[in-house]
């Protein structure tokens, strides 16, 4: 995308909404901003309807701020809490049917490769745990097995939060939710291991409690997906509404869970991806 496309036609400056004017004057496009620059430029998101203290909103905000090329990125989302914020994202984005996000992203990536053979276009799937690990697991795994060059980012809030709080495949064993009052009977699915087995070149688990680590893994995942193959990032994003903790405790809860060993940040890089990332770091 040419960043000049964003410019407002002369004479129309005054009637454009102030948010749009702010985005044009002070937006992130073509400037290579990262999370360290947050607060000094207009972010990708405007207001969103997610709950106060939402871990998913925090993960989404940090993820969007760490995209390497926001102007050439297309985000594919799916039904769920994450989709509530998508209309406010100042990026190209697609809302797919529940669980179809990786199939849509595969087709889109191939189409973009044919249409723009000389340009880098990033296709990033951002979906919740219901769409990635339960309903859409088939499509997600098949896209990895086909080695589609897309990044899959799962915002893991351990529940179907948008529909009132059902248990999902990612809920912890014994988790009591609004619509799972007797507690979940089987353990949490280990999707990073599945991703590794299915051939993802880069797999990571992180959380918004460590924003710099989150930004690093998201950036690496997108860069590896451009050249090598599919990548997967899992972001632990607790839900204060359905798990009924105080919204101000979101970050401290992640740290506590990490201390107890119930959540672990991990990173797996394939040999090929490692060599590629090292060559990128040498270039810098």
């Amino acid at each position: 995308m040419k960043t000049g496309m964003l410019k407002i036609s002369p004479g129309f400056e005054e009637i454009m909404p102030p948010e749009y004017r702010e985005l044009v004057d002070n937006g992130p496009y073509g400037k290579n901003y990262g999370i360290n620059d947050l607060g000094s430029y207009k972010e990708l998101l405007e207001e969103h309807p997610l709950c106060a203290g939402c871990g998913l909103a925090l993960s989404l905000r940090l993820t969007l701020a760490s995209l390497p090329m926001p102007e050439d990125t297309v985000i594919v989302g799916s039904t769920g809490c994450s989709a509530l914020a998508f209309p406010q994202v100042a990026l190209h984005n697609i809302h797919s049917l529940f669980g179809n996000q990786n199939a849509v992203a595969s087709g889109l990536k191939r189409a973009l490769k044919l249409r723009f053979p000389d340009k880098e276009k990033d296709v990033v799937v951002i979906a919740g745990d219901g769409a990635t690990a339960d309903i859409g697991l088939d499509m997600v795994m098949q896209s990895w097995l086909r080695r589609e060059k897309i990044t899959t980012i799962m915002l893991d809030n351990e529940a179907y939060a948008n529909t009132g709080g059902q248990e999902s495949g990612m809920s912890m064993q014994g988790a009591v939710l609004n619509m799972a009052p007797t507690g979940k009977k089987f353990p949490k699915l280990s999707l990073p291991e599945i991703a590794q087995t299915c051939g993802c070149a880069y797999v990571a688990a992180a959380s918004p409690a460590k924003p710099k680590q989150l930004a690093k893994v998201v950036r690496r995942a997108i860069l590896v997906a451009r050249e090598i193959g599919p990548t997967y990032v899992q972001l632990y994003s607790p839900c204060p509404t359905n798990y009924k903790f105080n919204p101000k405790e979101t970050v401290s809860l992640i740290k506590q869970r990490e201390k107890e060993g119930l959540y672990q940040s991990k990173e797996y890089i394939s040999q090929e991806a490692k060599a590629f990332l090292e060559s990128m770091e040498v270039k810098k």
């Binding site: 999370i35 360290n36 947050l38 607060g39 000094s40 207009k42 972010e43 990708l44 998101l45 405007e46 207001e47 969103h48 997610l50 106060a52 203290g53 939402c54 871990g55 909103a57 925090l58 905000r61 940090l62 406010q88 918004p208 924003p211 204060p240 105080n246 919204p247 101000k248 405790e249 979101t250 970050v251 401290s252």
Partner: protein, 62 residues
């Protein structure tokens, strides 16, 4: 009257940790010359997440 976070400008050192811990976009604005943060009160949902991460106790909900 809505609740919003308030910044104590004497205690704030401009470490930006509140900016990267806030789930709401564009609530905190960083002022590089003064090395302080400013709050856009109309966007704050008063969840209090920033107050728990601020090591200098410069933020309060009120």
């Amino acid at each position: 009257m809505y609740l919003s976070v308030r910044v104590d400008t004497e205690k704030c050192i401009g470490c930006k940790i509140c900016i990267t811990s806030c789930p709401e976009p564009n609530v905190f604005i960083f002022l590089p010359e003064q090395k302080l943060v400013e709050v856009n009160e109309s966007r704050c949902k008063a969840c209090g997440l920033c107050t728990t991460v601020c090591a200098k106790e410069a933020l309060k909900i009120g």
